[in-house]
Symmetry: C2
Subunit: 290 residues, 2 copies
């Protein structure tokens, strides 16, 4: 190809929430037709279709599942809620194993209602990782802590930076706990270059032997104004403020050669024809990422 | 007082945007009646009233101006725009001096339209600080870099953490450039305790002789869901996720004894009677900060 980046384009994965108007069969068919070889799946639509059936569907089309969203929500203080969360995460790990992906993305959880104890919530995440890490690794799945943008710290995820995610992950073996690098959440951070290098193992020294913590690399652009609730305002690649190629080069510089997953939550994309959106994603990926 | 914190309550300052339904004379009268001794002012209403007249009004009521909002917007790439920004900031410094405040709060500016160059934008802020710092210090005014929440990085301020603000500020003498510690912008940061200590001079060592960088300490609470545009969703003290007392104790532990300014942007407060809102601010301040 004349753009000089066939390798990167072959690593493009489509997270299914980007084109949520598609059913799972439509997603698999659409990706196969477009030459996109990986899909990132979500638990609810997979459960709706049937986990084993979904695994077969993807495999039979020659695709692979690059990640499953999502486990987590570890911050409840109530013991019964915490036990339920652990059970649900074990189920998510089992589903990831059936789907053949090695990555379960974690949205760690916000503050419990009425709580202001960020430190306590963060420690409960570590407790849960300690319990679930071996269970996941035995099934070939890695728990991938996703630092979410600080605007979600209260209600979704008290892990807000890559440094913080790595501080958590490094308390556990690298084959059990990794991190997600998502441009939408991390683009603003002036230390992100150094933290990506750290995540890739560069700052750990050979004696650590820890290997890379980068379990997933996800892309979305940052556009303004943010919508009410700030959940569904992600931008199509190239429409916003993020230097996507800079990110991809930094992640690749650590030796990462895994999937590059496009995950955009935006009702304007959901209102369009799915194949048209995917073609646009591929074009934008080539122009801004490859 | 029975709550044991008369000292902190005497340091309460009301930023005028918290009760923007009040005219400047109403603000001064309302604060004087409520025993609130400091006010944080904004340039537009001060200019509307007249800068010298505003200074007299505040002084004659026995109040002091704790800060002026705002200078900044240093990130333009166009030379003419940059020159205009410097001129406007010199005017803001002059106004601060007339008002008798030693603190000009800076909103440093977002990315220029179409730009993705965060590093370049941040360096242009440093350039502007180098030009304006001596001008400000000669007039008894300190430029106070306010790190804004990362959700404003694209369109308002590319300085997103206290660490980053200090990295910038420390390139200049402490009497020229300081920082603003605002709970709304910084509460989510797991390194904030250490960075507050650094801002207070604790981490710099006596040989630096730099003194504290904390030019202003502002309070608002974090509530969800965020409104569209995410500008006017700040919470009344005690309504949200921020451990305000923890912040105040950390700031005071550095030796800071300056104003504690309440700055809440929330249309629900603007729709109410100003005196009632101020009484509530005082009550909440006593309960959650003192």
């Amino acid at each position: 190809m004349s753009n000089g980046c066939p390798t990167v384009l072959t690593r493009l994965s489509l997270n299914q929430e980007t084109i949520r108007q598609w059913s799972l069969p439509e997603l698999v068919d659409g990706c196969a037709r477009a030459g996109v070889r990986g899909v990132g799946l979500w638990r609810a639509p997979v459960q709706h279709y049937g986990v084993a059936a979904a695994a077969r569907l993807v495999r039979d089309a020659g695709l692979s599942v690059t990640s499953l969203c999502r486990g987590g929500f570890f911050t409840a203080a109530d013991p019964a809620d915490r036990a339920a969360a652990l059970d649900d995460n074990r189920a998510a790990i089992d589903e990831a194993a059936v789907l053949g992906t090695d990555t379960l993305v974690l949205v760690s959880g916000g503050l419990p209602t009425g709580s202001r104890d960020l430190r306590g919530a963060r420690e409960r995440i570590a407790d849960a990782l300690g319990v679930l890490g071996p269970y996941a690794a035995e099934r070939g799945v890695r728990l991938a802590i996703e630092p979410l943008h600080p605007m979600y710290a209260a209600d979704r995820c008290v892990v807000s930076t890559l440094a913080q995610a790595l501080d958590l992950a490094e308390r556990f073996p690298a084959e059990q706990v990794g991190v997600v690098v998502d441009t939408y959440h991390l683009w603003w951070d002036d230390t992100i270059g150094a933290q990506i290098a750290r995540a890739g193992g560069a700052a750990q020294g050979p004696e650590r032997g820890a290997g890379s913590r980068i379990a997933a690399f996800q892309l979305a652009d940052w556009i303004t104004p943010l919508p009410e609730g700030v959940l569904l305002g992600r931008g199509q690649l190239g429409d916003g403020a993020v230097d996507l190629r800079w990110f991809r080069e930094r992640v690749d510089a650590t030796g990462y050669r895994g999937p590059v997953e496009v995950e955009i939550f935006n009702p304007a994309l959901w209102a369009r024809d799915g194949a048209e959106v995917l073609a646009e994603v591929v074009d934008r990926f080539t122009a801004h990422v490859g």
